[in-house]
């Protein structure tokens, strides 16, 4: 069996890729996709822990994370459509995420 650490490191890598994506991209939809990538990395961590601990709780958590991701997708895309209607773009130029 592949060791737990391989899974943890893989999900850490995916999580960091997602984080970098959120901080560098300007397109709201791409940012949202990067968040989904982060959530998937977390899900992988949960399932790996769950399997190696022999405890189902982690997989239930993943189940809920997926539901939440679906809800966020619905609401977030609706917000993007509303934004697009008024501005004709979804570049987050004024949505400067690193503003102090």
């Amino acid at each position: 069996m592949v060791s737990l650490h391989s899974y943890l490191i893989l999900s850490a890598i995916l999580f960091s890729i997602g984080t970098i994506g959120v901080l560098t991209r300007r397109n709201a939809i791409v940012i949202f996709m990067c968040v989904e990538l982060m959530l998937n990395a977390v899900n992988l961590t949960f399932v790996a822990f769950s399997r190696y601990l022999g405890n189902v709780d982690g997989q239930i958590f993943v189940f809920f994370v997926m539901t939440v991701a679906a809800c966020e997708a619905a609401v977030g895309l609706a917000l993007m459509i509303a934004f697009f209607k008024n501005k004709e773009s979804i570049d987050v130029e004024d949505v400067n995420l690193l503003k102090w």
Binding site: V42, T45, L53, N55, D57, V65, L79, A82
Partner: protein, 484 residues
């Protein structure tokens, strides 16, 4: 085929949540039959629901109820916070109708969404399982994304909703990663079980997975309570969102974030106290200082109050770092009085604003004190309380937060807090200087006080002054609700 043994459900533990969600669903149905100029009735119905829920909260006081195999626990701590959420929801609903009519977006869905957000906050306060807390948080956040973007024809509101959504989802990732690592280190998501497992196997000092999980969770919660350096979303979102919703989200979700933050850290990770107290010390100092210094330069009053709300999160973090009974009771007392004073101030902003809110700058308040003396006095009371000047409730709250820190030996933290609090007086008083010492630039003839807003102002003034002058009763309640 065997049957599944149902868990011990115990509805008493989720009574307030049940009532609120049932009313929210009923309102969604009723909404269809209410013509658009009479949506205020939905607001009144939801207020009735909130009052009923408030009575169940009072009725549950002193009898802790556990339910759903330990997923939820309604103790005094949870009940006190539920009271705060209900107060903030009720006051925000009172100021919503006039604003939404003015901005021509009085859709009836507003009230069910506020109620469901409140329901989410309650689940955060009473959840004793990381899953319950997470889902409560998401119920709250998803409702708030919608409420922030509620004025769908206004670009500002859309932007606020979108920004809040992107950063909220981003922070959820960190929170979840933290939860995942804590689950890996302990093999459970129940808060009490985490604590006992960590204590039994003495994982505290040695386990790096637990430590990094704790740090990541702190990052996630800091986003939600808008602590620096994770506060970037706050000013833009607060400025763009509809004003009543800004009032709501500056109080309720912050209190809910603190409730979950305190419960997870104090109950589940007491053995890591030394580590997280250091972390939160730094966060508290940063939050207070960044919030107050940037607030000094703000022209827009909603933006100023956003930065001031960041600073207030910093003061509350001081009480959290202290971690003793006085500090924790201070957190609860402060959040309650903050609900009154902040929503009160936002009620005045709603009144002064015009359609599209072109006049939200501090300069636009010039001469307000002479044209509407009574409202100006109310505003002054709220600002005094926010600045922490006696006899307002804000002073007593700050006093307890800082004296908790001194008792716990964090003298420097308390000194930094007091200095910050002194600096904050400048920007609150600036508004009052404009109100009383400048001549009006334009007339305030558009301003009309609806009965609902008048009621909100009366409640808020009472809520600021009464605990400020006779704080004994409320403090006693807060002390009974402390988790320790």
């Amino acid at each position: 085929m065997e049957t599944i043994a149902m868990p011990a459900i115990n509805f008493a533990a989720i009574m307030p949540e049940t009532i609120l969600s049932v009313i929210a669903m009923a309102l969604l149905l009723i909404n269809v039959f209410v013509p658009s100029e009479q949506k205020a009735y939905l607001g009144y119905l939801s207020l009735i629901g909130i009052v009923v829920t408030f009575f169940t909260v009072i009725g549950g006081w002193g009898t802790p109820q556990e339910g759903f195999n330990g997923s939820v626990m309604q103790d005094n701590f949870a009940l006190f916070f539920k009271g705060i959420f209900l107060v903030s929801a009720a006051l925000s609903i009172l100021i919503s109708d006039q604003y939404m009519k003015r901005e021509e977006c009085n859709h009836g869905e507003l009230y069910p969404l506020i109620l469901l957000a409140t329901c989410g906050m309650m689940l955060m306060a009473s959840g004793t399982d990381l899953m319950t807390i997470f889902l409560g948080l998401e119920l709250l956040s998803v409702s708030l994304y919608v409420l922030a973007g509620f004025q769908r024809d206004s670009l500002k509101s859309n932007e606020a909703g979108l920004k809040y959504f992107l950063l909220g989802a981003f922070s959820t990732g960190f929170l979840l990663y933290g939860m995942a690592l804590i689950y890996g280190a302990t093999g459970t998501t129940r808060i009490a079980a985490i604590a006992s497992y960590v204590a039994q196997n003495s994982l505290a000092g040695s386990n790096l997975m637990l430590l990094i999980g704790m740090v990541l969770m702190a990052v996630g919660f800091s986003f939600k309570i808008a602590a620096a350096p994770f506060h970037m979303w706050t000013p833009d979102v607060y400025e763009g969102a509809p004003t009543p919703m800004t009032a709501f989200m500056s109080v309720g979700p912050k209190a809910a974030g603190f409730a979950a933050f305190v419960r997870v850290f104090v109950i589940a990770l007491p053995t890591l106290r030394a580590d997280w107290a250091d972390l939160l010390w730094v966060l508290a100092v940063l939050t207070m200082t960044v919030g107050n210094i940037t607030a000094l330069y703000q022209k827009n009053i909603k933006r100023m109050l956003a930065y001031s709300s960041i600073a207030h999160a910093g003061y509350v973090l001081v009480g959290f770092v202290a971690g003793n009974a006085v500090g924790t009771a201070g957190i609860m007392f402060y959040m309650l009085s903050y609900a009154f004073m902040n929503i009160g101030a936002f009620a005045i902003i709603v009144l002064v604003g015009k359609k599209g809110e072109p006049n939200n700058n501090v300069e636009d308040y010039a001469g307000f004190g002479f044209k509407h003396p009574l409202l100006a006095v109310c505003m002054s009371i709220f600002l005094f309380s926010l600045a922490g000047i006696p006899p307002a409730a804000g002073f007593i709250g700050k006093f307890y937060l800082f004296s908790g820190a001194i008792q716990a030996g964090y003298i420097w933290l308390a000194i930094i807090g007091v200095l910050n609090s002194a600096a904050s007086v400048y920007y609150y008083l600036r508004v009052m200087v404009f109100m009383y010492m400048k001549d009006p630039v334009e007339e305030f003839d558009w301003l009309k006080v609806s009965p609902a807003i008048a009621l909100c102002l009366i409640i808020a003034v009472a809520g600021v002054l009464i605990p400020g002058i006779v704080p004994g009763y409320l403090l006693e309640l807060a002390q009974k609700a402390v988790l320790l």
